[in-house]
Amino acid sequence: MGYRARMFAAWMLAGALLAGSSSAQALDEVRAALVVRPDDVELRRTALRLAFAHKRWSDVLAWTDGRSRFRGERARALFFLARYREALELLDAADDEEAFLVLDALEALGELERHDRVLAEVRARLGAADARVAAAEGRVALREGRFQEACERFGSALASDPWCLAAHFGLGRARLGAGDVPGARVALEEHRRLVPLFDELDFAQRGVELDPAHGPNHAKVGDVERAIGRLPLAHAAYLRALEHSTGAERVPVVLRLARFLEEDVGDSDAAVGLLGAELQADFEPRLAVRRGDVLARAERLEEALAAYRAVLRQRPDDAAVLRRIAELEAR
C-alpha cells in the first residue's frame, strides 16, 4: 500500500469492508441506481465509498462534480490523483484530517513557505504535542538546519506516538545534524527495526483490501500489529478476523486470538472463554488442547485435566495429550 496510502487506510478499509467480496458487482449496482436516483444522498455516499475502495477515481470525480456536499470526497480523490492544485482549492485546512493532506500537497508542490504557514495554523488548533504536527515541525526544523529544535519536535512526536516511523527517522537525522552520532545511531537502529514490520503491515493490509471478507487476511494484520506492539489495533484486527472466518480457516484465527489474549492482554480468562465458546459450537481437538494449556498455565489444573481428557475421548492415543496429562498429574 505504501506509506502515503496510510493516509487513506481508514477510508480504504471502511470501503473495502462495505464492499465485501462481490464488490465489483456492488459498484455496478450503485452506479446503475445512481442513474435512477441521482438525488439520493445516502446512495451517493455509499457509491463514493465503494468507488474509493476500488480506486475508481473517474467515478468519484463524476459523482462529485458540482456537488458541494461531497467536496471532501472530491478533494481526496484529486489528492490521490496527484492533482494537488485542484485538490488544494477544495481541501479544508481547518479540518483536522484534511489539513494533513493540504500539508502533503503543498510539500509535494514545493510550496514550502505556504506549507510552514499552514502547519503553524494546524499546530495552533491541534496542539504542539500532536504526533503528526510534531513530526511535520521536526521535518521543517531539520530541513532548515535547526537540529536541536528538530530533536525536541521528533521527541515530542514519539512521546505521543511511539511507532511514528517518520519521527524515529527524523530524530536520528536531527541528532546526527546536532553532532550526537551515538544518539543518532540509537534512533536510526530503532527505526531500522520497525521499518520491515510496517512494510509487512502494508503488505497485510493490501490483502485485506483485496479480500476484506477473508478472515485470515485480518489475522495477518493482527499478527503484524502484535509484533509492532500496537495491541489495541492487533486486538481489533483479530476480532475482525474472527468475524470473517468460517470452517477450517477459523481454528487458526481462534488460536491466534487466544494466544494474544493470554500473552499480550494477560487475560487468561478471556482466552479460556473464547476457546470454550468455540468448542461448544464445534469440538476441535486443537482448540481443546490449547484451552487445556491456558488453564494449566493459569494453575487451573483440574479444569486443564478435564480439557485434555475431553480430547482423549476423541483421540485416545494422542501422545502429546497423554504427556500433558501425565505432567499435570505429577504436579
Binding site: 505504501g2 506509506y3 496510502a5 490523483l81 510539500e107 509535494a108 508542490l109 530541513r143 546526527l176 531500522r192
Partner: protein, 531 residues
C-alpha cells in the same frame, strides 16, 4: 561501420593525444532552426528490436521487469554501437530462443551484426548488462545478468565476443539484475558488483491479486525472499573471486534493481549505491582500500524523508545543485514519488525531493530508467525518466493507473527541476512501458542521445536535436574518473566518467562538456590525485 557524415549535422573530429591523456573530442553542431527536443529516430536508424517478455496467464514477476541495453564502441571504430538484452521464455530455453542482439552504428543507421557477435547472442532470459574492460586487454567485455545463469563475455574489439564465464570463475544462476563495473580498490582493473533480486519458483507461482483469472497480477516483491548482492574482485587477468562478505558488502539481502558506482564523499574512492525494491536501499562506503562499510544508516539514503522504504528501481547520480558533489536519484513506485537525495557532504544525504521540484510530478508514475545528464547543454544536469507500470491490467485495481506511462524530462534551472515537454519531445509524447534508458552521443554531434527500452515493446532511439552548442567530449577515461571543469565565468562543474546504469543498462562512459568558456579540465582517477 565507418563513421559517416550525418545528413543534418556536421561533425568535426579532432583528437588530441599526448602521453596518457585521454582523447578530447571537440564537436560542433550545425545550426538547427527548431528548439532543442528529443526526436524518435528509431526508423531512421533502422533499429528493429521488440522485447519478448514471455507473458503468461500466471503473471510471474520476470515478465514485467523489462530489459537492459548498452551503448559502447563494440567494434572500436569510434562510434557507439547498441547492445540490447532480450527476454523470451523464463521457463525453458530452446535452440530457437530469441537472443540478445548487437547493432553496429554505421554512421546514422544501426546494422544487426548479431550473427557475427559470437556469444553476445546470448539466449538467456536477459535482464541487465554492464560494459567494461574486465580482462585488461583494451577491449570492452560484457557482464550479462539473467533470470538464470549470468554470462561474462570477453570482446576482441571487432564486435565478436566469447563466453568466458567459467574461465573467469564466475558462477551465478540466481535472479540477478543490476550490474556495474568499477574499480573500488584502485588497482587498475575493473571489478564487478551484481545485484540479486528475489528468489522465486516459476514452477509453483503463488496466485496474487483477486481470485479471478482476469484479475490475476504480478506478486509484490514482499512475497519473496531477497537475494544477496555479489562483489566479484578481479585478479587483473580477468579471473574473479566473490568477496562481498570479505569486503563488507553484506548484510540484509536487498532486492536490488539499480546500482550506481560513484564517489559520494569526494575522498577519491568509488562507493556504491543500490536501489532496492520495497526494502531499504543501501549505500556502501569505500573505506579507501576496496573494503566497504554500510553507510546507509548515517547516510540517510535507505528510506525517504518520512522514514519509509520505497520500491527502488532505477538509480542515477549527478551534481544537480551545482555544489560539486553528486546527488542520488532513485525512481520508485506509484504514490511514492521518485526521490532525490541531496548530498550534504561526508556521505550524508537528505531527501530533498520537494526542493528539487519533482515530488508532485513523479508521485503517480512508476519509474524505471533514470539519467542525470546535460540534455540542453547549459552545463547543469537535467533529468530524464522512463515510466511504466508493472501490472498490465492495473486499471482494474486503480483506474488512475495505466500500464503504459509517459516518460518525463525535467530541465534544471538553478537547482530546481521542471517538467519540460518541449525538450522531452517525442520521448515523452507517447506513453510506453518504459524500463531502461541509456545515453550517448550516437550521431557524434556533441550532445547526448537516448535509447529507451520497453517491456514487451520496441526499443527506440531518440536523437537530441537542437541549436548549435560546441561541446568537448572526454573519451577513454578510466571508469570512476572524476572530472572538474572550470569555465571563464568562474563556474565549475563536476562529472564522473563511467557508464550510467540507469536501470539494467550501460550508457556511454564519456564525459561531455559544453566547451564555450571552458578554461581548464582536471581529472582524478579512483584512488588518485587531481591533475
Amino acid at each position: 561501420m565507418k563513421r559517416a557524415l550525418h545528413a543534418v549535422l556536421l561533425t568535426v573530429l579532432l583528437t588530441a593525444c599526448s602521453g596518457d591523456e585521454p582523447p578530447v573530442t571537440p564537436t560542433v553542431q550545425a545550426l538547427a532552426p527548431e528548439a532543442r527536443r528529443l526526436l524518435d529516430v528509431t526508423q531512421d536508424w533502422g533499429l528493429s528490436f521488440v522485447h519478448e517478455r514471455g507473458a503468461t496467464d500466471e503473471r510471474q514477476l520476470p515478465e514485467t521487469m523489462g530489459h537492459g541495453a548498452a551503448l559502447f564502441d563494440a567494434d572500436e571504430d569510434g562510434d557507439l554501437d547498441l547492445y540490447v538484452v532480450q527476454g523470451g521464455s523464463y521457463r525453458e530455453r530452446s535452440l530457437t530462443a530469441p537472443t540478445n542482439r548487437l547493432f553496429a552504428n554505421d554512421g546514422g543507421r544501426f546494422r544487426d551484426v548479431t550473427p557475427t557477435s559470437g556469444a553476445a547472442a546470448d539466449p538467456g532470459y536477459g535482464m541487465g548488462v554492464a560494459v567494461g574492460d574486465g580482462d585488461g586487454d583494451g577491449h570492452a567485455d560484457l557482464y550479462l545478468t539473467n533470470f538464470g545463469l549470468d554470462r561474462w563475455l570477453t570482446g576482441d574489439g571487432t564486435g565478436a565476443f566469447v563466453d568466458a564465464t567459467e574461465a573467469a570463475g564466475i558462477h551465478d544462476d540466481r535472479w540477478t539484475t543490476a550490474v556495474t563495473y568499477f574499480d573500488p580498490d584502485a588497482d587498475g582493473d575493473l571489478d564487478l558488483f551484481v545485484a540479486g533480486y528475489v528468489a522465486i519458483d516459476v514452477d509453483d507461482p503463488p496466485w496474487c491479486g483477486r481470485r479471478d483469472p482476469a484479475w490475476r497480477t504480478v506478486c509484490h516483491p514482499d512475497q519473496f525472499e531477497g537475494l544477496a548482492d555479489r562483489l566479484w574482485i578481479n585478479d587483473g587477468r580477468g579471473r574473479f573471486t566473490e568477496e562481498s562478505v570479505a569486503r563488507g558488502v553484506a548484510g540484509a539481502p536487498g532486492k536490488g534493481l539499480g546500482v550506481v558506482a560513484i564517489d559520494v564523499d569526494d575522498d577519491g574512492w568509488t562507493d556504491l549505491y543500490v536501489a532496492n525494491d520495497s526494502v531499504e536501499n543501501h549505500l556502501w562506503r569505500n573505506l579507501g582500500d576496496g573494503r566497504f562499510e554500510d553507510g546507509t544508516l548515517l547516510g540517510g539514503v535507505g528510506v525517504n524523508r518520512f522514514g519509509a522504504t520505497e520500491a527502488g528501481m532505477g538509480v542515477a547520480a549527478g551534481d544537480l545543485d551545482d555544489d560539486l558533489d553528486p546527488e542520488l536519484i532513485v525512481t520508485n513506485f506509484d504514490h511514492e514519488s521518485h526521490t532525490v537525495y541531496r548530498n550534504e557532504g561526508q556521505a550524508r544525504f537528505s531527501d530533498a525531493t520537494p526542493s528539487f521540484g519533482i515530488e508532485a510530478a513523479t508521485r503517480l508514475p512508476v519509474g524505471f530508467g533514470v539519467l542525470a545528464l546535460d540534455l540542453d547543454l547549459d552545463r547543469d544536469l537535467d533529468l530524464a525518466v522512463l515510466n511504466g507500470h508493472i501490472v498490465e491490467r492495473v486499471a482494474l485495481y486503480d483506474d488512475a493507473q495505466t500500464w503504459r506511462q509517459a516518460a518525463q524530462v525535467f530541465t534544471n534551472v538553478d537547482g530546481r527541476l521542471s517538467l519540460d515537454l518541449e525538450l522531452g519531445g517525442e520521448l515523452v509524447a507517447t506513453p510506453r512501458v518504459g524500463r531502461c534508458l541509456v545515453a550517448g552521443d550516437l550521431d557524434g554531434d556533441g550532445d547526448e542521445d537516448l535509447v529507451a527500452t520497453e517491456c514487451g515493446g520496441r526499443t527506440r532511439v531518440f536523437e537530441n536535436r537542437g541549436p548549435r552548442v560546441a561541446t568537448r567530449r572526454l573519451d577513454g577515461l578510466t571508469i570512476g574518473t572524476r572530472v572538474r571543469a572550470t569555465y571563464a565565468d568562474g563556474r565549475v562543474v563536476v562529472r564522473e566518467a563511467g557508464p550510467a546504469a540507469s536501470y539494467l543498462g550501460s550508457g556511454s562512459p564519456a564525459v561531455l562538456l559544453p566547451s564555450q568558456g571552458l578554461v581548464s579540465i582536471e581529472r582524478r582517477v579512483p584512488g588518485g590525485d587531481w591533475r
